[in-house]
């Protein structure tokens, strides 16, 4: 397949590389030209603009920071649209923003799929991302071979926006999960109990989770290198809270969790992994 790829950051670069490895012809574009070099070295074609990355291709994929960035690159894609083009955005943005972008692309005759991912940099490199997609079944079927190069658990959730709704739900669970494990560890430590033993005991029961296992271990190692930066988790939880505000949804746990990440960003911990919320709890409880 001929695929355009826009956005070559921590996630986008390995995802594009996996498409090349999968035998696809990949054209890349990134705002900063130096981000494109590793892909060109691996055999990708360089594009001069988002429109150029879409032109003549079967599929165009974006992996950028936020909704305005997605809207901007997709305007470029729409300007170069040819019949049958499928545009896929794998960034994490608000469901309402994704639906709007989908509508604008539809006017230009382009099918749109919102397909945010979970699994982080490790999953992007290994090609084991979870991919949650929203859009028509026909467009999903056409994009699926590309998804299979980048991820393992690939689910077509529903119509346009459904992928982003799923990702927001994912961030609710992971955000509260990280905070829950950090609170359990702060609780154990203030009670004078060895938290590594607590983790070990809990792994066998109903409190087991990947977050307790992986993030919990990194908390014990005090390894706060990202991973997933806390400012990005804050951004994602803000999508959740904005959507809850618009729809009239009561999400007290998410609201409290979003405040903790907000405090992390405000106190200069935004570039650290979201598990650094443990350090914030320790500071608040006089455990430093």
């Amino acid at each position: 397949m001929k695929i355009g790829f826009i956005g070559l950051g921590i996630m986008g670069r390995p995802m594009a590389l996996n498409l090349i490895k999968g035998g696809h012809t990949v054209t890349v574009w990134a705002r900063r030209a130096e981000s494109m070099q590793p892909l060109l070295d691996a055999g990708a074609i360089g594009a001069a603009s988002p429109a150029d990355a879409a032109r003549g291709n079967d599929l165009v994929v974006s992996m950028v920071a936020d909704a305005p960035d997605v809207a901007e690159v997709m305007r470029g894609v729409a300007s170069a649209a040819q019949p049958g083009l499928v545009a896929v955005d794998m960034s994490t943005i608000a469901p309402a923003a994704a639906r709007k972008i989908g509508e604008e692309l539809a006017e230009a005759g382009v099918d749109f799929i919102d397909a945010p991912v979970s699994g982080g940099e490790v999953g992007a490199i290994a090609g084991t991302l979870s991919i949650m997609a929203g859009g028509t079944a026909a467009a999903f079927a056409r994009a699926k071979p590309a998804f299979e190069c980048m991820g393992k658990n690939i689910v077509h959730v529903g119509a346009s926006g459904a992928g982003q709704v799923t990702k927001a739900a994912n961030q609710i669970v992971t955000g509260m999960g990280v905070l829950a494990v950090a609170e359990a560890f702060a609780f154990a430590a203030k009670n004078g109990v060895d938290r590594s033993k607590v983790r070990e005991a809990l792994l066998g029961g109903f409190a087991y989770s990947k977050i307790l296992e992986n993030h919990g271990q990194r908390m014990l190692d005090r390894n706060f290198k990202p991973g997933f930066k806390s400012w990005m988790h804050e951004k994602d939880l803000n999508i959740v809270m904005q959507t809850a505000h618009e729809l009239g949804l009561c999400l007290p746990g998410s609201a409290a969790t979003a405040q903790m990440f907000n405090a992390m960003v405000g106190s200069g911990m935004g570039e650290e992994d979201s598990i650094a919320v443990l350090k914030l709890l320790e500071r608040l409880s006089g455990q430093e």
Binding site: H245, L247, L249, L251, Q259, N262, G266
Partner: protein, 284 residues
């Protein structure tokens, strides 16, 4: 002075009338012309036309987008207002939006004063609003006599946006106090104690407040007719929480209160008074 007015709702209409009564020459524009009614004013066809015939224009409208549209959109105020004229925006909008609008108007030599108000419809009718102003001192001084027709407490908070920050602070305190009052009333009733007596006793002590007096009374009487429509507090709370996250300030109480307001909206009580936060507690 020739004064323009846009936004003739529950707040705007009495404010416009006060300016008229003080002897100012009034011009108005309204999205829905029927809202003008018998107001003694020149009626303009567009915000631009209004801007062209006024030295000072007031806006009292709902959202950041509405203010941006009226000020900067097609046939907007900025197409008509002369350099040196002043837009006084009494709406409650995001501090960032106020700063953005001020910057764009400044490029045409037009001054913005963000001047949100507190005191509700009754305060607007009685001309006792609290006015929190953001903008240049000289600009505030030029319109101070007009503001004095509307309220008694006029505080210059700082540069553009600062008035809206103060309003966000006002809403955080006020709605949290409504929530606290609702929880106290719920505790009293659930314990078999008379709400009215609890409220009467508290009014004399350290928990006494204007919110307890006004909203507490509505709760005692289960009278949820607005007052202040809860949807407006809900909107303002969204602005306040967003302003807090922009500067990385944790506001854990406001976050929880925001969820109670979301619940209120989900129950379809958006046009009722915010005292309905008590009804939210009664759902549980």
């Amino acid at each position: 002075m020739k004064v323009g007015f846009i936004g003739l709702g529950a707040m705007g209409r009495p404010m416009a009338l006060h300016l008229h009564r003080a002897g100012h020459e009034l011009a108005v524009w309204a999205r829905r012309p029927e809202s003008i009614g018998d107001l003694p004013a020149r009626v303009c066809a567009t915000p631009a036309e209004l801007g062209a015939c006024c030295e000072v224009v007031f806006t009292v409208i709902t959202s950041s987008a509405d203010v941006e549209g009226v000020a900067l959109g097609k046939d907007g105020l900025s197409d008509g207002m002369a350099p040196g004229s002043v837009l006084v925006d009494c709406s409650t909008i995001a501090p960032d939006a106020a700063r953005r609008i001020a910057e764009k108007l400044a490029a045409k030599g037009i001054h913005l004063l963000d001047a949100p108000v507190s005191g509700g419809e009754q305060g607007a009718i009685d001309a006792t609003l609290a006015i929190m102003a953001g903008g240049d001192t000289a600009v505030l001084e030029r319109v101070r006599s007009l503001l004095e027709c509307l309220g008694q407490r006029i505080v210059h908070i700082g540069p553009n946006g600062a008035g809206q920050v103060a309003k966000a602070c006002n809403q955080m305190i006020m709605v949290a106090a409504i929530q606290a009052t609702a929880e106290a009333m719920r505790l009293a009733s659930a314990s078999g104690v008379d709400r009215a007596l609890v409220k009467a006793a508290l009014a004399g002590g350290s928990a006494g407040s204007r919110v307890l007096e006004v909203m507490g009374e509505r709760m005692v009487k289960s009278n949820y007719a607005a007052g202040i429509e809860a949807r407006l507090h809900h909107k303002d709370f969204g602005l306040a929480l967003e302003a807090a996250r922009r500067v990385g300030v944790p506001t854990p109480l406001a976050a929880v209160v925001g969820q109670q307001l979301n619940t209120l909206m989900a129950q379809g009580w958006e046009r009722d008074d915010t005292a309905s936060l008590l009804r939210v507690l009664e759902l549980e």
